[in-house]
Symmetry: C2
Subunit: 230 residues, 2 copies
């Protein structure tokens, strides 16, 4: 297809596509004349990934190019591709960074303690580690007196969610497609997952408390009577 | 305690506390002299809740006042309090809004279809419904060709997460404390839950693919051979 059709089908402006071509984010098309080139579905898919990296993941053009270059280099390595998408610096994703051992020195990080308890092996460069510590600190400053143990059951459910994510990624064979899907799943699905939790909170509350929509001392009295050993 | 100590212990500026008193967000203290009042722990807790509603939940002062007034009114009703925190307009939380029935007219909303499949009873005013539809639309515009069925297993895990939330809320007896905790759990915990998912993605990927950190055609060949019947 011509660049105009690539623009139409991708929804990315002509000028932007040319910019990506100049910056090397998008590989050149097959030259058909001095000033014309032919593009194919690989270009369309690559454009979608660029859009996901810049628009969704919030990367700069330079950072997006680095991800794309590394995805091309480590094409067959799911773990490496996912690590890049998660924002783990190159090398950090593959190194099995040992968590501080139980008897060894403590980093003092609550996230470290949590991961050790869970037996999860993650890179020390995973940006999500900091979020755990920061959130617990904020919660404590607002009077919630829980430490990392509070997060243990939530973490177990997060692991099951991650298994769904990985299953989805592994259903794809093309590494570029996989990188794109990883960006979409990790970043774009987040609002929906939080919305599902809020809907579930209401639904669960309805099951547990929905009957007593107005204070109903009668039902309490009945309950108490029937609870008494007879 | 005096207002100065209330300020020190809550971390809320003196002038701000006086503003909340004037606006009726904070109940007046017990007058001890013409220009002096005595405050207690209920004021401290109420201040924390105001901070959570305005600072964390992002409500205006007027909206926060409305939540506080309704929390006082429906003190014994967990379901009502949670509904308010979730941003469901008053009345919406208690009405068992019927989902559009299977043979009846379709709203066309994917969130509706999802909830019907799950058997979840939620108010049609729950703001999270819109987020589900918007996210699916965005994902589709980026080439992910999944409909609401894709969210079903995620929703089941969200329901289990919500059960942890509700368990935590039900451990509290004081309705004001419960409202505060609901704000913290629903809004402030979100970044940590998403961080847990990202850590879990890496940990799960490490278990599934961590061994093949560099392309290793040998192991594939071995695998293929041993897979052959024989």
């Amino acid at each position: 297809m011509r660049i105009s059709e690539l623009s139409r089908r991708s929804g990315v402006a002509n000028a932007t596509i040319k910019y990506y071509l100049r910056e090397g984010l998008l590989p050149p098309g097959r030259a058909t004349a001095a000033t014309q080139a032919e593009y194919d579905d690989t270009h369309l898919r690559r454009l979608r990934l660029i859009r996901a990296l810049i628009g969704v993941r919030g990367l700069s053009v330079a950072a997006a190019k680095q991800v794309l270059d590394t995805v091309s280099e480590y094409q067959t390595d799911t773990h490496q591709v996912l690590g890049l998408v998660l924002g783990i610096p190159q090398g950090g994703a593959t190194s099995k960074a040992p968590r501080p051992d139980a008897e060894g020195e403590q980093h003092g990080s609550e996230a470290d303690a949590l991961l050790t308890a869970l037996g999860w092996e993650v890179s020390e460069y995973n940006p999500a580690l900091k979020v755990i510590d920061e959130t617990l600190e904020t919660l404590r400053s607002l009077g919630l007196d829980h430490d990392w143990r509070f997060l243990l059951p939530y973490a177990e459910l997060a692991r099951r969610t991650a298994r769904l994510d990985l299953d989805e990624l592994e259903s794809l064979k093309d590494p570029l497609e996989m990188a794109e899907r990883a960006v979409l799943l990790t970043y774009l699905l987040e609002p929906a997952l939080m919305a599902l939790r809020r809907l579930a909170q209401e639904a669960e509350s309805m099951v547990r408390h929905g009957e007593t929509t107005s204070p109903s001392p009668d039902s309490c009295a009945t309950r108490r009577l029937s609870d008494e050993p007879g």
